[in-house]
């Protein structure tokens, strides 16, 4: 390879790498899907707080989820007429706060949030150095607790195995008197386990998880136990002893703070309803990353009107690639190099069959009238200008005719580039006079074939999706066009053109 060839392939691979790289980065970072119609599961969760207000000022504080393994908070909002609402940060703990000067009687507050399911279910990492908190059991529970811990300690070596052992012991109160005694206290299983672990020197804490099931209402939270292991919070189900976060378990509350604080009311209760939703991944991506650095490469930042323009504009390179391929590799002859692309763009707006019919009829009418024009002995520029006027008249005639016949789609015919049509008619008529109707068919048919092909490619949903959402893929197209441009092999049509030379090949 010569230096120029090396430089050429470097350029091509550079374009491929840059275009593909940016697209990949945007796919990974902004979660723009590569395929159209990709939907993502979103859980709509509604927390409902019921309480009875006593008549004075009311302040309700609900712990809100943050730092969710396996989920990401997408949107959140609170609906509670008459209440002020704010999301406050209390030493790293997000809480929703409803306030009202006076309220009395039963009250209901709602907090709604959407959570996106994420594949990544990494346990949350431990911040700081959590210390075990002392808890004092009363006798005889204290003795039972220390004996149970002793038994569990003897059969375990790590905080995890200790936890598993304690859960196993507590699960079978029939086998162990100490367990039976402890189970008899009014502590919940999770709380009991946390206290035991803390006594044993493990900085365990309670977490509240929400088990997600489609269309469930009035669900409580499920208590879970978290212990710090090697910098990560490991989760245990205190009843089954299962380690790790179950699928569909949304960790609503973590870190030991209270779930709900009510001032100025009583008989409070939190319950949850949930709904599984399917949201287009593209919409999610735009809503979440609409103003990131990488979004600067996307067109979705532009006003809608410009976006529509670009949606069409970014299809042009695809058409250009198709034309380059059809002309250089296949060898189809077209009238006017890029006329087929413009026709294909018009097809995008008129639909193929209608576009073909109207294009052919306008050009055919135009050719008829053009044959009369040649008797008038006009100068070329004036003749083209005349044709432009005739084409516009023909198109309006067809539109009106179509409308009268009840095809409002006839109006879309106006999307055809008039001047291009006028030139096409002029070229075709000269071609007709000079080379005969056969050549008109070959070139006109070739143009329409390439236009239809370009249209079919442009109409692919995946092509529209990629060209609009990943404009940087134009660099990949460019690389493709460059490669086609350096093709010096035979064209497909040449294999037919030279077919009779087969006899000479011995």
């Amino acid at each position: 390879m010569t230096g120029a060839r090396v430089a050429f392939w470097l350029l091509v691979s550079g374009l491929l790498a840059i275009g593909g790289g940016i697209a990949w980065l945007r796919h990974v970072q902004m979660e723009i899907p590569f395929l159209p119609g990709v939907a993502q599961t979103v859980w709509l969760v509604e927390a409902r707080v019921d309480f009875v207000a006593t008549g004075g000022p009311v302040r309700i504080s609900l712990d809100l989820p943050e730092d969710l393994p396996g989920f990401r908070l997408f949107t959140e909002q609170a609906a509670s007429p008459g209440y002020g609402f704010a999301i406050v940060d209390v030493t790293g703990d997000r809480r929703g706060e409803w306030t009202r000067r006076e309220a009395s009687g039963p009250q209901t507050l709602y907090y709604t949030a959407q959570f996106i399911v994420q594949g990544d279910r990494q346990p949350a990492s431990v911040v700081g150095d959590p210390q075990p908190r002392a808890y004092f059991f009363e006798e005889p529970a204290a003795t039972a607790a220390s004996q149970l811990i002793g038994a569990a300690m003897a059969r375990s070596s790590t905080p995890e195995s200790l936890t598993r052992e304690l859960i196993r012991l507590l699960a079978n109160p029939d086998m162990d008197q100490n367990a039976a005694l402890l189970r008899a206290t009014d502590l919940g299983r999770a709380e009991l386990l946390v206290h035991l672990l803390n006594l044993a020197g493990v900085a365990a804490r309670v977490a509240q998880g929400l088990e997600l099931e489609d269309a469930r209402r009035r669900r409580p939270l499920t208590p879970l136990v978290e212990i710090p292991v090697a910098g990560q919070w490991q989760i245990f189900d205190p009843v089954t002893g299962r380690q790790g976060l179950p699928e569909n378990m949304l960790l609503w509350q973590r870190g030991g703070a209270s779930l709900l604080d009510v001032e100025g009311g009583g008989r409070s209760q939190v319950s949850f309803s949930m709904l599984r939703q399917s949201v287009p991944a593209l919409q999610l991506s735009q809503a979440q990353f609409g103003d990131g650095v990488l979004a600067a490469f996307g067109i979705s930042a532009l006003p809608i009107e410009e976006q529509g323009l670009f949606k069409l504009l970014f299809l042009l390179p695809i058409g250009a690639l198709v034309v380059a391929f059809m002309r250089i590799v296949v060898g189809v002859s077209t009238s006017g190099t890029f006329m087929p692309v413009l026709i294909a763009l018009a097809f995008v707006q008129t639909s193929l069959v209608l576009g073909l019919v109207s294009f052919i009829s306008v050009v055919a009418f135009g050719l008829l009238l053009r044959s009369y024009l040649s008797y008038l002995n006009l100068l070329l520029v004036a003749r083209i200008a005349t044709l432009v006027v005739i084409v516009i008249l023909l198109i309006s005639l067809l539109s009106i005719l179509g409308y009268r016949l009840g095809y409002s789609t006839g109006l879309t015919i106006t999307f055809f580039p008039m001047v291009i049509i006028a030139w096409t008619i002029e070229r075709m008529s000269i071609l007709w006079e000079e080379e005969g109707p056969g050549e008109v068919l070959v070139q006109g048919g070739g143009s329409l074939l390439v236009a239809a092909l370009a249209y079919l490619v442009m109409e692919l949903r995946i092509v529209q999706h990629l060209s609009f959402n990943f404009p940087e893929l134009n660099l990949v197209l460019l690389a493709g066009i460059l490669v086609i441009g350096s093709y010096s092999g035979y064209r497909l049509t040449e294999l037919r053109r030279f077919r009779d030379m087969r006899e000479l090949d011995r």
Binding site: L379, S488, Y490, L495, F498, D500, M501, D505
Partner: protein
């Protein structure tokens, strides 16, 4: 299937359009030289300056207002040929052989009035026949009276000889004969007959129409494989000498043989077609590569030496 495999084509050394454009036209023909051959008026000026034989220029029409005057300007001419300066592929060429009773007789025998000539010139001026429709000039030149050797070989139109010249070395030649099917034009894809010529002798190798071998002219019945071009060596020399003034490394020279003036250059082409390979029954590629190799390690040769080389190197073995 009725195709030839790319491998077989490649074995035959056939040059495809893409390879011609990329490896020869783009590489050996400097862009600035294109206007010289795309404009027949400029071509004619260079050729005349270089002393290369070409039909004499009678008249040039550049503006619309001059169109009315062509009748008086041409009063002294019995026959002539009207050409748009930037016409391509033989477009817009109107040959008037003689006059008859105030009318003009075309090569086809059809009679037309002066208005027809004026409209034709006017159309050409407006750019009807030029690439991209740009405004054009029209040249009117002397009529070629073709050599009796070609009698019966061409239906209407003048038989012309296309020689592909690569870096000054003629590499392939063919005789193009208009037919009824080609409507008097010499383009092979329109149905003209192509007769491949032996570069050494100017004798016919084989003849094709529509890429198929034929033995006789479809209209005149003249046997084609006994054709021998007279004065062949001077034709080769004329073609070879086009290289220096134009600077075009890959060109097609179109020549005719005039009864009294001998070989004449009609026009030059910077993108000569590939049909010459079909007419000759062999590919251009081996010859082009041979010339490339020769030029790479040799000092420049004179046109005479170049012709002597190709006559020796590219003779058809019998």
């Amino acid at each position: 299937m009725n195709w030839i495999s790319p491998r077989a084509l490649s074995r035959l050394g056939v040059l495809g359009i893409n390879a011609r454009n990329r490896d020869f036209v783009a590489r050996y023909n400097p862009r600035r030289a294109f206007p010289l051959v795309d404009d027949k008026l400029k071509t004619k000026r260079i050729l005349q300056a270089e002393g290369l034989a070409t039909p004499g220029l009678l008249h040039v029409v550049r503006h619309q207002f001059e169109v009315r005057g062509i009748e008086s300007r041409l009063a002294a001419q019995e026959g002539f040929c009207i050409k748009p300066a930037k016409g391509s592929g033989g477009k817009g060429i109107l040959v008037i052989e003689r006059r008859e009773g105030g009318q003009f007789v075309k090569a086809s025998g059809a009679r037309v009035g002066i208005e027809h000539l004026q409209r034709h010139v006017s159309n050409a001026l407006a750019g009807l026949y030029s690439l991209g429709g740009q405004p054009d000039a029209v040249i009117i030149e002397e009529l070629i009276e073709f050599d009796p050797a070609f009698t019966g070989l061409s239906h209407e139109g003048v038989p012309d000889i296309r020689i592909v010249v690569f870096q000054g070395y003629p590499v392939m030649a063919m005789l193009r004969l208009a037919t009824h099917a080609s409507d008097g034009k010499a383009n092979l894809h329109q149905g003209a007959v192509g007769v491949g010529l032996d570069l050494a002798t100017g004798a016919a190798i084989r003849a094709v129409q529509y890429a198929r071998p034929i033995r006789e002219h479809p209209d005149t019945g003249q046997v084609l494989d006994r054709i021998q071009i007279p004065d062949w060596h001077s034709m080769l020399l004329l073609a070879a000498r086009c290289y220096e003034p134009t600077g075009l490394g890959y060109l097609g020279a179109d020549l005719v043989l005039d009864r009294s003036k001998g070989a004449q250059l009609l026009e030059l082409n910077a993108r000569p077609g590939l049909a010459i390979q079909v007419a000759s029954g062999r590919g251009l590629r081996p010859r082009l590569h041979a010339i490339e190799a020769r030029v790479a390690d040799r000092i420049r040769e004179s046109p005479e030496a170049r012709v002597a080389h190709v006559v020796d190197a590219f003779a058809v073995e019998i």
